[in-house]
């Protein structure tokens, strides 16, 4: 991180945005690029929903890299509160300060103004995101918002509409330039409409076969063309099945890497059975696919590939 980050200008058209994402190895749909473009220019949060493993979090990371901005990440969990998300006072140091000041017979008002100053403030992600940076406003990633509870969501509502935080002891801190906010949700519960209304919404879907192949080429460049095609074909077939948890792009990439590690050059029923755990994460799904079903799907994939080649 030692090298100074360059400052990059925001893309001016949707096509530029698409290229910008592509330059950081994110192969996006034009529809996604449109939503990103809107969020960048109208300075509103981007709300990404979709199944696990379709690349929601990655968008924030890619934006930060491509724009040369700092990435601030807030991982949500149940019970997330102001002390861990926004700010906290450094109580231990405050205590010491009070003792020292009392020993020196300082005035009480003076002690109060000293201990509630910037020096004793521990800044958490949301507060950090409001601070000016040399490279331009940072990218704030609020990851898996659906894991928090409603009170935090309500708090966020205020923060995201005005980009300001009020600390009773100090006053209101306001961002000169709002950060680029990306919110993701796995939809384990519905986020309130009031929050979504303030954002640009995009449902990140599973990619088409062509796009998935393109992604795989970027993310697992070591894999041979034929293996990649078979992997994508197989995963796409799985997504058509009635499984409890469909494999995402992350799983496709992981699986390809696992196959490469095992020196598999071509998919075989045996290789699939050995590595199915990388692709499917529920025992029922694995049990359903293990053995003959996997072989049947693979046969279909190979037949289709042969037909396409002919």
């Amino acid at each position: 991180m030692g090298t100074a980050r360059r400052m990059f200008a925001l893309p001016t058209t949707v096509t530029d945005t698409l290229e910008l994402l592509g330059s950081a190895d994110y192969i996006a749909d034009r529809s996604l690029a449109t939503a990103v473009h809107l969020a960048l220019h109208l300075k509103r949060p981007l709300f990404l929903e979709g199944e696990a493993g379709v690349g929601k979090t990655e968008i924030a990371k890619v934006l930060a890299t491509a724009l040369g901005r700092r990435l601030i990440r807030l991982q949500c969990y149940e019970g997330l509160d102001v002390a861990t998300a926004v700010y906290e006072w450094d109580y231990a140091r405050q205590m010491i300060e009070i003792r020292l000041a009392e020993a020196a017979n300082e005035d009480r008002d003076e002690i109060e103004s000293t201990i509630f100053s910037d020096r004793f403030l521990i800044k958490r992600p949301l507060l950090q995101a409001l601070e000016p940076e040399i490279e331009g406003p940072p990218v704030l990633l609020i990851d898996e918002l659906d894991r928090t509870d409603e009170p935090f969501e309500a708090y966020l509502l205020e923060l995201l509409s005005d980009f300001q935080v009020t600390i009773p002891e100090i006053g209101t801190i306001r961002a000169d330039q709002p950060p680029i906010v990306v919110i993701t949700s796995n939809r384990t519960r519905e986020i309130h409409d009031a929050l979504k209304r303030r954002c640009f919404y995009y449902w990140v879907d599973y990619p088409t076969a062509a796009r998935e192949l393109e992604i795989l080429k970027r993310k697992a460049p070591g894999a041979s063309e034929s293996l990649s095609r078979e992997v994508v074909g197989f995963v796409q077939k799985l997504r058509g099945m009635d499984l409890f948890k469909l494999p995402g792009i992350a799983e496709t990439i992981d699986w390809t890497e696992a196959l490469m590690q095992l020196d598999v050059l071509e998919l075989t029923p045996h290789a699939i059975n050995d590595t199915l755990g990388v692709l499917l994460k529920y025992q029922d799904d694995i049990a359903r696919l293990h053995g003959s079903e996997a072989a049947r799907l693979l046969e279909q994939v190979k037949a289709e590939a042969a037909a396409a080649a002919a």
Binding site: T12, T13, V14, R30, S31, T34, A35, H37, L38, H41, L42, E49, Y77, E78, G79, L80, D81, A83, W89, Y91, Q94, M95, I98, R108, I111, E112, I115, D146, R147, D149, P151, R187, T188, R189, E190, D193, K196, R197, F200, Y201, Y202, W203, D242, F244, D284
Partner: protein
Amino acid sequence: MASSAPRQASEGSGGSLLANLMHFARTLRAAGLPVGPGKVIDAVAAVRTIGITDRRDFYWTLHAVFVNRPDQRLIFDQAFHVFWRNPDLLKKMMGLVLPELRVEGEEDPGAAMARRLAEALHPNQNEGSEAEETETELDAAMTFSDREQLRGMDFEKMSLEELARAKAAIAKLRLPIEDVPTRRFAPDRHGARADLRATMRAALRSGGLIELKRKDPRRRPPPLVVLCDISGSMSRYSRVFLHFMHSVTNDRDRVHTFVFGTRLTNISRYLRYRDVDLALERVAEAVVDWSGGTRIGHCLAEFNRLWSRRLLGQGAIVLLITDGLDRDAGAGLAHEMDRLHRSCRRLIWLNPLLRYEGFEPRSLGMKAMMPYVDEFRPVHNLESLEILIEVLSTPVTRRATAASAWRHSEERAA
């Protein structure tokens, strides 16, 4: 919907984009999307940012503004294609925003723009999606009528006296559910943790000795999911259960309610109407499989696949109300019950055993379900909400005892 067709943009009037977007927003609202006036302003800003150069971009720009949930995507898609079909309109609108685009666009807009315009306006684009639409409609119509019996339901209105009794009964309700600790804290004199922030503030106020303040985790009731059987064998109780579910939904937060017979219907939204008669009327309209057969396994599978991850996330309690009489004779039921049981904090089965005491149901459905419930609550004489509440409010019995009691009775009968 002739009235919702886009108004022709009159040349030169700057407000036409706004007018048409407003009209489009109204169409969406009529189609059931929650679109407020603020959204129109957002849409104008968004369209100005992206520019109308490409039909797809225009689509996704409006999509980003108007759509809030995945299930709204289809409605939006259809509304968009119906509304913006008129290419003349789009051309005129482009004329309106074009001057701005010229300022913004960095390259020579002339020739390229015209070609892209032509591409965007090519009428072939619509055809595919329309053909698909009609196809799916046909499909849906075929599937439902031949397989299941669809019936309406007419509930009598609740009298004032009944209403008062229902309220009194629900006030007594103590579900066999304990409040669970959350990860948030509230000040508590005897709490286990030190509240340093409060301590610090108190110390400044008083000076001298620093008195340690304490805090303890807040507690709140976990989310509740009610799955209620409304098949023929349960039809006697439908009214009682619906009243119960209505009261519970309005009594606490985080309650989700489903009914099932041959299919699963989420009725939480309808039950949120304060007025019980209105709520029941809406439910009666929304549910199409009243008093038909039961496919418990099938419906639970649907719940597990589509809803469980969204509703059972934060340690939810599931209240399953069914008599366990299954048309599919318990096929696939054990598997789905197992999954449901694993995904929730506690699974409570309320079984209104048929009318007379001592009835011992040994249906295949029941056998399949029994091993997976944490708590089994049979009720023999279910005439009113009061009795239901009474049964539900009795203190917790351990799962093992409930299950073994039933198993013993089964052995005796055999």
